[in-house]
């Protein structure tokens, strides 16, 4: 089963050897590799945001029986480039009596929280910017720092309604984080590790969503719902619902600061779908079923990064599908749903999952 490691493994090997020939200090080699990783990730994030925004607009349009951007470039593919240029050249208006330092810092906090978390995701067998043995714990912690950015933005805007939106956002995000983490935990018990690379490796015999049968499916559904709420997307977007509090916590932001919030939202969507794909759908693992080597051979022909991006974009499509189908929940309905229904369900799921994992009640266990 080794021939499916398409070329990323050897690419990283080649890069390491080349660097070692030219710089004879192993520490320097590591530093250069880290810088290369950071640079690639930064470029990737920019392109990814543009692609995701374009996809969102097209998906939204076709679900509403219209066409979306069609004029800027063939079928509107340069629309997001035009929007980025527009946002870069707009004037950054700062209202009177804002808390300047916090006002300028808030978008950066949101963006950094989302961007740093992206470095832990394994995109392909050795393409992973940071390998950390408590990867998931770290990601869940860092991505929670996004709430700071939102609260800071709402407070510093000197605007009652922004503050209201930010408070709602804070309450919503910290509530739904609980269910999201509990849902992930149910699968992590089966996988036995918090390290992203090991989680993907543990799915070599099959993806957790079907290997941990009912628990996997329920955990996946809970995680999808909770993470849609985490990203402040419909049906949970009372925070920034464009017809409610104008634009919620980012009403007073213009130009590049608004672009940072916007970027952070889309990177968050990608991040959450990437975590979901890694934990539930096997990351870059092809669709294998245990020991059926003939079937597995067919699936091995597709390179791992194609598997990864295919899964992530399918999940991103589902999240967008939710947005353009469902109406918005009121804030009290939202909180009630989380605390009275979703969290107890996630806890029960975790309990049953723990029992099953202890007694080996899942497919292709090693017991």
């Amino acid at each position: 089963m080794n021939n499916f490691i398409y070329k990323t493994d050897s690419m990283v090997e080649w890069l390491t050897n080349w660097l070692q020939q030219h710089l004879h200090n192993p520490l320097l080699v590591e530093i250069v590799k880290m810088l290369v990783g950071a640079g690639v990730l930064a470029g990737f994030v920019s392109v990814l945001a543009m692609v995701l925004i374009y996809i969102e607009r097209k998906v939204a349009a076709h679900m509403q029986q219209r066409l979306g951007p069609m004029r800027v470039g063939p079928h509107g593919i340069f629309q997001t480039v035009a929007d980025s240029i527009k946002l870069l050249t707009k004037e950054c208006i700062t209202p009177q009596d804002v808390d300047r330092f916090v006002f300028n810092l808030a978008p950066l906090v949101c963006f950094v929280a989302a961007f740093v978390s992206l470095s832990f995701i394994p995109f392909a067998p050795r393409i992973q910017a940071v390998n950390f043995n408590v990867g998931i714990l770290f990601i869940l912690g860092i991505s929670s720092l996004g709430v700071f950015g939102i609260l800071a933005a709402g407070w510093a805007s000197n605007n009652k309604w922004s503050l209201l939106g930010a408070m709602r956002a804070g309450a919503q995000i910290i509530s739904y984080e609980l269910s999201a983490v509990l849902a992930l935990l149910a699968i992590l018990i089966f996988a036995g590790t918090l390290d992203f690379k090991e989680i993907v490796e543990s799915q070599r015999n099959g993806w957790w969503i079907w290997r941990a049968h009912g628990i996997g499916i329920v955990a996946f559904l809970i995680y999808t719902i909770a993470s849609t709420a985490e990203c402040n997307r419909t049906p949970f977007d009372i925070v920034e619902g464009e017809s409610e509090l104008t634009a919620g916590f980012h009403t007073e932001y213009s130009a590049i600061k608004f672009a940072m919030f916007f970027l952070a939202e889309f990177i968050n969507v990608f991040l959450v779908c990437a975590i979901s794909a890694t934990v539930f759908f096997g990351g870059w693992m092809p669709f294998h079923i245990g020991d059926m080597t003939a079937l597995n051979g067919i699936f091995d022909l597709v390179p791992p990064f194609v598997w990864f991006f295919g899964k992530v974009f399918a999940l991103v499509f589902v999240v967008m599908w939710f947005r353009w189908t469902f109406p918005r929940l009121r804030v009290d309905q939202l909180m009630r749903f989380e605390w009275k229904y979703l969290m107890p369900l996630a806890l029960i799921n975790l309990g049953v999952g723990a029992v099953l994992a202890a007694y080996g009640g899942f497919f292709f266990n090693k017991f």
Binding site: H62, M63, Q65, R66, L67, F322
Partner: protein, 184 residues
């Protein structure tokens, strides 16, 4: 177990909504948007579209159906229509002399078309009616005058005794059929 039944109903409702959006997502032919300047030669304008009005011509003789009764003048809520008429010396009936239509005041409400009893008015489905000067918006709709916005090739002046085509200069598959012959 009311909560269970309500949950299952809820989930079924959500899934049915999602199937509908997915259906519209997959069906590109059901897109309603038309990309305007490129599709001018195959425009589909719904028949009830409210556009500039025009006098209906009899298909057989090419004469206007309008008998200058003045009901449309009374029906118009803001006085956009003015009718000048003269008595025909032979038949002693009123005949239309000048049908003045002020397009700058018209609200496209359609009351004139609805209230006309002799099928004399219809919505012409011309929407490319921008002009450069306000004077061009006071239009004369009957035979001797050319309403602005028409292409010069297809004239609103009917040739007498020629089967008059529809008055729409932009060829239009969705245009309403001209009045059936035999209407006075």
């Amino acid at each position: 177990m009311n909560i269970l039944r309500k949950s299952i109903d809820g989930i079924k409702g959500l899934l049915s909504g999602m199937t509908m959006t997915l259906y519209y997502f997959m069906r590109f032919d059901k897109v309603i948007t038309q990309q305007y300047p490129e599709n001018r030669d195959r425009l589909i304008i719904p028949p009830r579209t409210r556009t500039r009005i025009a006098l209906t011509q009899d298909a057989g003789t090419g004469e206007y159906n309008c008998n200058a009764c003045g009901i449309c003048v009374k029906a118009c809520p803001n006085g956009s229509i003015a009718v000048d008429r003269e008595r025909d010396p032979v038949t002693k009936k009123w005949k239309l002399a000048k049908y003045e239509y002020r397009f700058d005041r018209c609200t496209l409400c359609g009351l004139c078309v609805e209230s006309c009893k002799s099928d004399g008015l219809h919505m012409s489905q011309q929407f490319e009616t921008a002009v450069f000067s306000r004077d061009e918006l006071v239009q004369i709709l009957n035979a001797d005058y050319r309403p602005p916005g028409d292409k010069p090739a297809v004239e609103a002046n009917p040739a007498p005794a020629a089967p008059a085509p529809a008055q729409n200069p932009v060829p239009n598959p969705g245009a309403p059929a001209p009045n059936p012959p035999g209407n006075v």
